[in-house]
Amino acid sequence: MAAAILRRLNPTTATRVAPLLPLARAASDSTSPLTIETSLPFFPHNVDPPSRTVATTPAELLATFRTMALMRRAEIAADSLYKAKLIRGFCHLYDGQEAVAVGMEAAITRRDAIITAYRDHCLYLARGGSLVAAFAELMGRVDGCSRGKGGSMHFYKKDAGFFGGHGIVGAQVPLGCGLAFAQRYRKEGTVTFDLYGDGAANQGQLFEALNMAALWKLPVILVCENNHYGMGTAEWRASKSAAYYTRGDYVPGLKVDGMDFLAVKQACKFAKEHVLENGPIILEMDTYRYHGHSMSDPGSTYRTRDEIAGIRQERDPIERVRKLILAHDLATAQELKDMEKEIRKEVDTAIAKAKESPMPDESELFKNVYVNDCGLESFGVDRKVVRTVLP
C-alpha cells in the first residue's frame, strides 16, 4: 500500500530496477556541511570536553548508515552460520556496538593504528577488510584473513593499521601502547586506538601500560567499549568504580555515548588531537551488545529481555542514523530499505563465495610458525622435517 502511494508520488521510482547507485537523490552524494548536536553531552575527567556540535555531511551519514547496516547484517549472518555449525569455537558478535567502529574510523586515517580484543569482526570491516575474507576466516578456510589459522578472535589487516584480534582479555592493551611507542619513536604523527572492554578494565596490565604511556607521553587512546557486562558479570558486580573514564586517575578521560556515531566521531577526533600533544587519554564508550558475550552465551540469564529490547528501541545506532537521514531529508525510507536489501544480498554473496574457499591444506600447518630465515624451516625441537639451504 505504502509502496503504491510512493510510486504515484515519485514518478522516478515507478519503473524501479535495481539501481546501480544505492540512491537516486542528488543529496546523497553531497559533501555540503551539516552540523548536528549529539543527543547526550560528553562527561569529562580532567579535560575540557569537545563541543557537542558535530560537523558531518550527507554523504558521510549515508555511508555510515550503509556501513553499520552491513556490519549488523554480517554479524546476524555469522550467528546463523554458527548455529549451522559452519563457524565453531568462539564467536563474539558486535551487533549494537557498530557506532564505535564506524565513528572511530570516520575520525582517523589508515595510518593510525587500531588494536582490539576478540570482538573484532566489525573493526576489521571498518578498516577496509573484505567480507569474503572475514567469513572465510570464521569458517576456517584458507582464503580467510589469517589463512584460516586464527579464527574469529584473530582478524588482522596490517596494510590498514588493524593489529587484531586478541583472545586474552587485556593482553592487547600493552601491545597497543607498544604500537604507540613505535609511532612516537619514528615520529610518525599518528596515534593508536587501544580498545578493551569493561571486563578488561580491571586488568593490572592495563594500569601498568597506562602508567608507562603517561610517563612517556605515548600517542595512545585507550578506548573502553563499556557494554556493561563482562560476559555474565554486570559492571557493578566487577568494578568498585564503574566510571571507567575516571579510572586513569592522572590520565584524562571522556565518557561518550557509544550508540551515537557522531558523538564517537567527535570524541575520537578530539582524542587524536589531544594525545599528539599531551599523551594518553581514556575514552569510555557507553555502548551495548544485543547478543550474549559469545555464541555460547544466550545473554539472557544475567539481563532481562526488556532491557535488551529497550536499548534496541531507544538507542540503536543504526536507527538513530536512519532518523537523522530521514529528518534531514537525505533519502527516503524506501531508499534506505532498498539499501538494506542490497546489503543483505551482498552479505549472502560474500558468504557463498567464502564457502567455496577450501579448507587449508595440511602443509599449511607448519607455515608461519617461524619467519623463514636463511631458508631454514624448523618445526619444533627435533626438526623432524627439515629443509636447510646453507649459503
Binding site: 589469517s146 593482553a171 592493551v173 619513536y185 596490565q205 602508567n211 617461524y370 636463511c374 624448523s378 627435533d382
Partner: protein, 389 residues
Amino acid sequence: MAAAAASLHATAAVSKSRSAAIPQVATSVRVAAASRGPGSARARGGLVVARAAAVKDEAADTNSGGHEVLMFEALREAMIEEMTLDPTVCMIGEDVGDYGGSYKVSKGLSEMFGDLRVLDTPIAENSFTGMGVGAAMKGLRPVVEGMNMGFLLLAYNQISNNCGMLHYTSGGQFKIPIVIRGPGGVGRQLGAEHSQRLESYFQSIPGLQMVACSTPYNAKGLLKAAIRSENPVVVFEHVLLYNMKEKIPDEDYICCLEEAEMVRPGSQVTILTYSRMRYHVMQAVKTLVNKGYDPEVIDIRSLKPFDLHTIGNSVKKTHRVLIVEECMRTGGIGASLRSAIIDNFWDELDAPPMCLSSQDVPTPYAAPLEDATVVQPPQIVAAIEEICR
C-alpha cells in the same frame, strides 16, 4: 632519530669490516656477516646468514688481534654495534638506561643512544614485554631485558600468546623480531625465586626460538644474530658467567642461532650441555681425560630448535650420550633433548641416553644445599664411567 622506514640499514660499516677480515680467521672459522642494503635479503624479509662454526680455541688463537672482553662487555658490544647499524633496534627494561643495567650490559648506552632508545621502564614486566611485542609488530626491533629471567614469568602470557604465536595467528602478516634476554640459572645463594631456569617453561611455546650463550664469543655472536633475526628469540644468559673472560675477534661476526658448538672433539661418549654446566663438564673432562676417557663435548647453544645435525653426527660416532643441564629433572631441556635423541638416533645408541639435571627442589639458600641442587663435576665423572662400562 630515525624517520620513517626509508634507510634503516647502513651498508658501509659491515662491508668495510668484511673486506678487512684477516685470512687466518677466515680459514678455520667461517666468520659470518649479514648482508645489508636495500636490495639485500634482509630488506626482502629474509636474512642471509652464513654459518659461523665457533671453535673456541681457534678464535682465541688468531693473531689477527682481537681483544679480550668479559661476557657482559661482549654483550654490550653486540648491543652497541646493532644499535648503531640499525636505528630501529632499541632496548627496553628496568634500570637499563641511567643505571647502566644491573649486570652492566647496557652501561653507557643511554648516553650514546638517548633515553628513548634505551628505555628505563617501571617494574611492570607483563606490560613492558607486551609493549615490546607491540613495537615489534609496528616495525621496531626491541631488545627486552628481564632483570632476572625469573621475573619474566609475569610476562608469560605476552611471551607465549603474543610473541610466539602472533606470526601464525595472523597468517604471516605480522612478524615479531623481538629479542628477550636476561640472566637466569642458579647463582650464588640468590634464593629460590632468583634462581629459576625459564628455558623449561618457554620451550613449548611454538614460534619462539631459544638460545643459551656460554662464552663471550658466542654471547656476542648469538645476541647479534638474535637481533637480526625476524623471529622472536629468547637469549638465556647466566648470572655466574658475566665475568668470563675471552679474546674475541675485532671484526663483525655473528653466530648461527640454530647451531651447536663443538667444544672438545672426542670419540668415546657425547656430552651435551649448555650455559654454565659447560664449565662443570669441562672440569669433569679434565679428570676423565686423566683417567683415559675420550669424551666429545658439545655446547648445544640452540635450545629451540635443537641442532640435531651436529648432535646426530656425534651420536653416530660415539654411540653414547650424556646430557648435563641445569634445568630441573622434570620437564627440562634435557628431558626434551633425550626424547629427541631417542626418536631420531635410537639405532645408533649402545647405552641408554643419560641426563644429569638439577634436583626438583626450590633452590635453597644454604651453600652446601645449593651446591647439591645442581650437577657437580664428580657426578659427571661418575656418570661417564657408568655409561662407558
